[in-house]
């Protein structure tokens, strides 16, 4: 093992910052490692990454002490340009890292700037490495999020660096693309001998792909351990707001295993948990309501929708969809990217009109009413909360709608909503300058303040770490009585499993299933077709042939404890 990166006693303060972001950090990374850096928000993870490619101290001229050596080069002695041949950095907001209009131009941008004559070949080769071929002349804005991420990766690979740093690869991607990205990183690590550093808190990915884990807190490195040991430190991780894999949490809560035997992957869990006989008769039946008592809020009748593409042909995104949304429903709209989820939501808001068919909300046909009028009934919460912030403080944003309509006593309503979403202390801050979780809370508060009959949420838990995700899920659940119905378009199966009472599966513009969590998660073929990845604990309960699917870790733990006692299987594993 050769030591490739050596960080020695580094302390760093951003220019104008009050406290050091890194405090006496020392860390060694060996060549060929696949290492995860974990830690809560603002603990200095990203700063650590910028330390390695020389942005610190060359670009951010703050107070820097200590020594960083990368591939034998002292970062203080070498420029960013030289260090970027050693270290590639992929940002969390990787879209802003892409600077050319077309794919190949962007991939070969760096080699061109450094004056390589074969810059195009280098670009092509790195595109091939990440599996992005045949798109050379495509415009970047036409790529999907996953493809853009791969392009950002290709862009840094074109300089053939030995070390890659990827800042939260999963945060901006849906589960399918996240896995794809990790598989490419794995290939780069194993076949090309690259050292990979991911800043990550999705421990299930860490368990599957990384061999080393670094835990940071408040600007310091707490420890570096191999992955098995690291993820078994359940208590310590939870203290740092990091959730270990669900199977590990379950093992920890049940408490029948030694810490050193905690499973960290699904496969390990299947062999370390007791097996049950599948009891099909005991399956819970979805609680179907009597349709006579249902009050329908939204009626969607045979709608079709398409949009224009660059070569002026039309691409169909929704085909003959009919749907009724009733009071009290909590609907999860699932399906892979491009299935038509966002289009369906936007049609309900009346911002776009269907080509065929009608959308009728509370008896109002969206064709006949302006989006402003529809906004009194339907609220749409954007995936990117920043697009909802139009004022310079949280409070002003929340009260905007009420004030514009001169609602009497709006101040009281605003106070209540700010309290509900725990924003009272943040009310004078500019929403844009808050953390991801705070922004999301603010966007929910803005939506609720519009007092809608139906609230539509687009990916409300995307880009959040798991702790914040749980919090947001709770807040969404608390909406319950405030709104008539809620529709969530999401990839987050944990949210679906814990919150929804009706699940609509879209695939290629058509509804291929409309049911409950049991009918969806029991249907393996459906999951496959729609590209849905159930939560780990649910998958475990299926593999263990448990009598019914477990949607949360707590359910699983209770069930195992109960059944475990009755079957007396505990002794087997101890």
């Amino acid at each position: 093992m050769t030591e490739q990166i050596l960080i020695e006693n580094v302390t760093f303060k951003y220019p104008g910052g009050e406290l050091p972001v890194l405090r006496d950090v020392s860390l060694t990374v060996n060549k060929g490692d696949f290492i995860a850096v974990m830690g809560s928000n603002g603990c200095g993870k990203s700063t650590l990454g910028k330390l390695l490619n020389g942005l610190i101290p060359h670009y951010y001229v703050g107070d820097f002490t200590g020594k960083v050596t990368v591939n034998g080069l002292l970062t203080t002695d070498h420029k960013v340009a030289e260090l970027s041949h050693q270290v590639g950095y992929i940002y969390q907001d990787f879209e802003n890292q892409l600077v050319s209009p077309r794919v190949l131009d962007d991939a070969s941008f760096a080699p061109l700037n450094f004056g390589y004559h074969d810059y195009k070949d280098r670009g092509r080769q790195s595109l091939a490495t990440v599996g992005l071929t045949g798109l050379d002349n495509e415009f970047i804005w036409q790529l999907s999020g996953g493809q853009k991420h791969l392009l950002a990766l290709a862009g840094v690979l074109s300089l053939d660096p030995d070390i890659l740093i990827i800042d939260e690869p999963v945060a901006q991607l849906d589960p399918y693309h996240a896995e794809e990205t990790y598989n490419i990183l794995k290939k780069l690590n194993e076949d090309f001998g690259k050292t990979i550093i991911v800043i990550e808190h999705h421990t299930e990915f860490i368990a599957d792909y990384c061999n080393q884990v670094v835990l940071m807190e408040a600007g310091q490195v707490l420890w570096k351990k191999n992955t098995q040991q690291a993820l078994r430190e359940v208590n310590q991780l939870l203290d740092s707001q990091i959730y270990p894999p669900q199977v590990t949490q379950a093992a920890h809560k049940i408490g029948f295993l030694e810490m050193s035997d905690y499973p960290i992957t699904l496969a390990e869990a299947v062999s370390s948990f007791p097996c049950y006989l599948k009891n099909t008769s005991n399956k819970s039946v979805p609680d179907s309501k009597n349709s006579d008592q249902l009050e329908s809020l939204i009626k969607i009748e045979d709608i079709s929708f398409s949009y224009k593409t660059i070569n002026r042909s039309r691409k169909k995104v929704l085909k003959d969809i009919s749907l009724t949304i009733n009071r009290g429903e909590r609907i999860a709209l699932v399906g892979n990217n491009g299935a038509g989820k966002s289009s369906l939501l936007r049609l309900i808001t009346g911002l776009v009109k269907p080509e065929q068919g009608n959308v009728i909300v509370h008896g109002r046909n969206t064709r006949k009413y302006s989006p402003e009028k529809m906004a009194d009934l339907v609220t749409y919460i954007y995936q990117n909360p920043e697009e909802m912030f139009i004022e310079d403080s949280v409070r002003k944003d929340v009260e905007f709608f009420l004030k514009a309509r001169k609602v009497p006593d709006y101040k009281l309503i605003v106070e209540r909503i700010l309290r509900q979403f725990e924003l009272t202390d943040l009310q004078d801050r500019d929403s844009r300058l808050m953390s991801g979780g705070q922004q999301r809370r603010a966007s929910l508060a803005i939506g609720v303040a519009m007092n809608p009959s139906v609230i539509l949420l687009d990916e409300p838990t995307a880009n959040l770490d798991i702790a914040t995700r749980k919090h947001i899920t709770e807040l969404i659940s608390s909406l319950g009585d405030q709104v008539g119905a809620a529709v969530v378009a999401t990839h987050d199966m944990q949210l679906v499993a814990e919150w929804a009472n009706r699940i609509i599966v879209l695939n290629e513009g058509e509804i291929i299933h409309d049911g409950t969590r049991d009918s969806v998660f029991n249907n393996l073929q459906l999951l496959e077709v729609a590209g849905l990845k159930p939560p780990q604990i649910l998958e475990l309960s299926r593999r263990l042939n448990m009598s019914q699917l477990m949607y949360t870790v707590d359910d699983f733990v209770h069930s195992v404890k109960r059944e475990g006692t009755s079957y007396g299987i505990y002794t087997k594993t101890v």
């Binding site: 600077v99 209009p101 061109l112 450094f114 002026r312 989006p371 909802m388 139009i390």
Partner: protein, 272 residues
């Protein structure tokens, strides 16, 4: 309101994006589009300046017909020509009317027509040249004639970021619309609605200023690691980038033909 609504439906953001890119990359198969940017620049250098100093109507007409020929060769969208004509006629018309107030008479028409003719030649020349270059060619050409690398980078960056910026602006604008309240009455000539929408259009830039600032930070960090500043300061990088530019037979043919034509026009013009 009806008007605004119809307009906003027609003018969807997707539509604008597509039209823009088609404008930029639509005409790449014409003869002129295959010329080297330097040829086009030199050609424009002549036809963009010289007409100002010529008062001979025959020569101007000769140039004008040549411009019509080249413009039709470059397959410019009719809309651009229409906008140009309206602009030129409008300006000439106002001048004409205004000059009559100051004691002008019928004699004003001729000088104004000549002025309009000159402006048309110059505008058509720029349309011919610049509509025949896609953004990449234009930025290569500008780099070649010595403009700093930042300019050609900015053009590329503009095309990269425009769709994202437009979309973000659109979303913010929609947030204003959906949460705000449009005036109940439109007022005379829609003035209430116009003020309302203008105000939103301006206010939407406050959020955009902050979010673009965040973008700019990542982008410039990435530029640093991708060696942009190294590229800007090292002339050999420019050479590699522009290695594909070359003057071919068609460039010389085009220039020689233009010179011969102009010489003919001048000799005819001076002898009539």
């Amino acid at each position: 309101m009806e008007y605004t609504r119809k307009l906003s439906e027609k003018l969807s953001v997707e539509q604008v994006k597509i039209e823009l890119l088609n404008t930029a990359y639509g005409n790449s198969n014409t003869f002129l589009a295959k010329l080297d940017p330097r040829t086009l620049f030199v050609w424009y250098l002549f036809f963009g300046i010289v007409p100002w100093f010529i008062h001979n109507q025959v020569i101007l007409l000769g140039m004008f017909f040549f411009m019509i020929a080249t413009t039709s060769m470059s397959k410019v969208s009719p809309l651009i020509i229409l906008i140009l004509s309206l602009g030129l006629l409008g300006q000439g018309g106002y001048l004409l009317i205004a000059s009559w107030f100051f004691g002008g008479d019928i004699t004003v028409i001729l000088p104004l027509l000549i002025l309009t003719l000159k402006l048309s030649i110059i505008s058509l020349a720029s349309i011919t040249v610049f509509c025949s270059m896609d953004p990449e060619k234009l930025s290569d050409g500008l780099l070649k004639i010595g403009l700093p690398g930042q300019v050609s980078f900015s053009i590329a960056y503009g095309y990269r970021m425009l769709p994202s910026l437009l979309e973000e602006y659109h979303h913010i604008f929609l947030s204003f619309r959906l949460r705000g309240k449009a005036p109940e009455k439109n007022g005379l000539l829609y003035w209430r609605s116009i003020i309302y929408f203008s105000k939103i259009a301006v206010l939407s830039f406050y959020p955009l200023l902050l979010s673009t600032t965040k973008r700019a930070r990542t982008t410039v960090e990435a530029l640093e690691t991708k060696g942009s500043f190294y590229g800007f300061n090292h002339p050999e990088v420019k050479k590699i980038k522009l290695a594909h530019l070359s003057l071919r037979t068609r460039d010389y043919t085009f220039l020689i033909f233009s010179i011969i034509y102009i010489l003919c026009v001048f000799s005819v013009g001076n002898n009539i």
